[in-house]
Amino acid sequence: MKFPAILMALAIVALTARPASAWDIDRDDPIFDPPSAGVPQADWTPEPTPVAPPEGIYLVTDVYAGDSVVQSGPVTTYTTDTVHEVTGSYARVLESVGTGDSSTFDGASFNGRASLTDGRPVAGTYYENFALTDSGFVPVSVVFFQDDSELARTSALLPAAPPAPSTTQPSLAARVPSAAPVEHPTEGINAPVVGYVSPVIDVEDRATPPLAPAAPPAATALPDRSIEVLRGRRISILFTGADLRTWRALATEGIALGPLSGAAGEPFVIRWDRLAPPNTSWVSRFVLDYADGTTRELLVHVTVRAPGLVQ
């Protein structure tokens, strides 16, 4: 019974076998469609052989549609709108630039490069567009795709802080006798999100003469110190001292959540969202003005730690 069934199956397969009409897409010689019956043979020309783009150039599938600046609360996001469309143009990446970085392509793009509120150019990527012609890929334009964000910044807070009220220092000295920046919990502080201090040195600070031609007496100068904080935790750094008048943040990796300068006793509210590289710590720079007219820079080394499961 089994043997006839197998024979019958083989017979059915053999009788219904037909040659397959397949097309090998990897075959080197192109296949041209013959001219249709209505087209004279003389007018018909085969389709040109597809040209493989050079390395680095790719077919554009998302077309630039405009720059977009979206503000959500204190965060302003700079993005680029695109439309999914295949127009037959090609593009390649010229350069990716970071926030504030200059590029040789600045000014070359047809859409320009926007700036943050502090004047630094936004981060993004420059692309060069190409059109495929008979002579090959011809560059036609440069476009900048912006991709950046910033926290709202109150520029009015950046200049030097006003002199401290004369009544502030005695109370602070009595309350915190320590001559060091003191961190306090921030549960009771509802400081608005108003600033971000870049970890780079401001041009204004770089142009000023040395801050401390004569260091203040050791008894009154706040020493550098190190702190450990949890990532993302909001803390206040309080600068106290009998002779301290004002403070100003120069550079920090953290995200400022309050004024960037203030009088002695006014907290610097900040949080750190990024961990420093292994075995290193962030350094925050401050400028302190003392009552005797001297100015001195203070460094705070910040070690950011993140909770996690351990063995």
Partner: protein
Amino acid sequence: MTAVTTIAMLPVLTVVLTTTLQLGSLRVVAARISSAADLAALVAVNDQDDGELARSGRLVPAADAVDVARSVFAQNLEPIAELLAATPDEIASTASVRVDVTPATVHITAVVPVRTPLFGALFFHPISEIAVVANGGAR
């Protein structure tokens, strides 16, 4: 012959199937208990002693880290409370919670009784205990 074999093997198959199901359920419950302890340790270590931060700048867990760990552990056990042989509060209160200052670490060790009715029917073992250890630290 086939019928006889089936009848003879049916109790064995039943025991094997029941044990498999109960073990699978136990593994799921154990995973959820472990997650509850892990999250409790993380939450407990995710707070800083502000007084110590002001004094020395060091990262030291908050003084109520032990209470926070027990509370969060109990809250995380609530969704599976009906599978447990004790209340989440009882389990959390009997758990061992230790806080290391340097480096800031929270250790949770607990023994959680879990209802295993199928084991009870088969092996007279209606409650199985699952030991869980979770360590959370700020690194």
